[in-house]
């Protein structure tokens, strides 16, 4: 894969990941450009071409972490209010809009936001996410699981507060909806 193909295939997902990390469109664009510059300078020495995508995400994440660490902005707050293994599909909103999803995800602490966004970008496996973020596979699973539980809960709360706010059909669990209506 030549450089241009690599850019075409990955720049959008990398930008979205960078945006989720920096929450700034300008900084995200800079981070993506910097990542590809590093690829142009060093990445082509990578022995296994199939690792190129993972290399790009890892490099972007490390670059951002380096800058953030320097700025002492990295948040390490735990989601103490969320139990370790919430996996039940409950309290699911049936409608919500895209801006709300982004707003909620961006409000998460980075230790949850980064694996969740990587998961939803659909580019990397959970093992590759673990490599990218430099954390064990089990931790990735735990953070994705807990992050999703929190996301569901937050989406439900948003919908409850704004039942008529720019609604988009989302989830059709008739059983759950009927249970909710009965209750």
């Amino acid at each position: 894969m030549d450089f241009q193909e690599l850019v075409d295939a990955n720049h959008a997902a990398l930008y979205r990941f960078a945006l989720s990390l920096t929450k700034s469109e300008d900084q995200a664009a800079d981070l993506v450009q910097q990542t590809f510059y590093r690829w142009a300078a060093k990445g082509q020495e990578l022995r296994d071409p199939s690792k190129a995508k993972s290399w790009l995400f890892t490099t972007l994440y490390r670059e951002n972490t380096k800058v953030r660490r320097h700025e002492a902005l990295l948040q390490q707050v735990a989601l103490s209010e969320v139990p370790e293994t919430i996996t039940e599909v409950s309290s699911i909103p049936d409608e919500v809009d895209a801006a709300a999803v982004r707003e909620i995800l961006f409000a998460f602490e980075e230790i949850y936001r980064a694996p969740l966004v990587l998961f939803y970008l659909n580019q990397l496996s959970y093992r590759e996410i673990a490599e990218t973020l430099g954390i064990p596979v089990g931790t990735v699973m735990s953070r994705i699981s807990r992050g999703k539980a929190r996301l569901r809960r937050c989406l439900s709360e948003v919908q409850a507060r704004h039942p008529t706010h720019k609604v988009i059909p989302m989830f059709h669990d008739k059983t759950l909806l009927n249970e909710k209506r009965r209750s």
């Binding site: 945006l19 510059y37 380096k66 293994t85 996996t87 919500v96 939803y120 659909n122 496996s125 699981s145």
Partner: protein, 246 residues
């Protein structure tokens, strides 16, 4: 594998099924095949995940110019790398910057040698350690001075600079070539510095409407080419503030 263990594993299962061949996922999926309740949970979870993925993508549009900027940035970086001399001078300049002016130079897109040298000069002008060659609030006077000095002169100015008042100008020699700096003031963000250099632009240099952005510590720079000249605008402010001047 217990049902709760399977749910934990399947939480990381991408909804389009890309991870189905992973041994852990395979075991969890087999478990779901034997457990109707788990299977129902998985279907709902995948639907939820597909929804979130699509909404996340929808909510984060990618800038149209990003792909082009990446290509240009990489080309500029490669051309810079070719010149060992330039890198050595640049590194030495960076060390001077860090040591003398406290500018932080994190590893990032490379500044060309003339850019690093002028940033050093600009830092000196800003701190008052280096005097202007000519001080005037009249831009025309400064341009006349540069013309007399046979230094590069701005053929065209970014439109936003016309709202600011001129402060002074400075020339320096880099690699046997004169480089001009015109400083403007009056804005909320302090001094703004326009650097002009002849014949330094790469073949595919960015234009004024899509400049190449590089941040170095407190300094933000935008570089573009026009005609036979390359320009760099530098200031200690946000990109939005700098963008407003272009």
């Amino acid at each position: 594998m217990r049902s709760d263990e399977a749910k934990f594993v399947l939480s990381a299962f991408r909804p389009r099924g890309e991870d189905a061949d992973e041994p852990q996922m395979t075991r969890a999926l087999l478990q779901a095949g034997r457990d109707p309740e788990l299977l129902r949970w998985l279907d709902e979870a995948r639907e939820f995940d597909l929804f979130v993925a699509s909404k996340l993508e929808e909510s984060m549009p990618v800038p149209a110019e990003l792909r082009t900027n990446i290509r240009i940035g990489a080309q500029v970086g490669r051309s810079a790398k070719r010149s060992v001399r330039l890198v050595l001078i640049g590194t030495a300049t960076a060390m001077v910057l860090v040591g003398s002016f406290g500018l932080l130079l994190p590893s990032a897109q490379p500044l060309e040698g003339w850019q690093q040298a002028t940033l050093e000069e600009i830092a000196g002008l800003t701190s008052g350690q280096i005097p202007f060659d000519e001080k005037s609030n009249d831009l025309g006077e400064l341009q006349d001075w540069l013309k007399d000095a046979k230094a590069p002169n701005a053929a065209t100015l970014p439109p936003g600079l016309s709202r600011l008042g001129a402060v002074g100008c400075k020339t320096l020699s880099w690699d046997n070539q004169l480089v001009s700096i015109i400083c403007f003031g009056g804005g909320k963000a302090g001094l703004v510095h326009l650097v002009i250099v002849d014949r330094q632009g790469p073949r595919n240099a960015p234009r004024l409407n899509a400049p190449r952005w590089i941040e170095r510590g407190a300094w933000l720079t935008a570089t573009w080419s026009s005609g036979d000249q390359t320009y760099m605008l530098a200031m200690q402010s946000s990109r939005a503030a700098l963008k407003a001047l272009l």
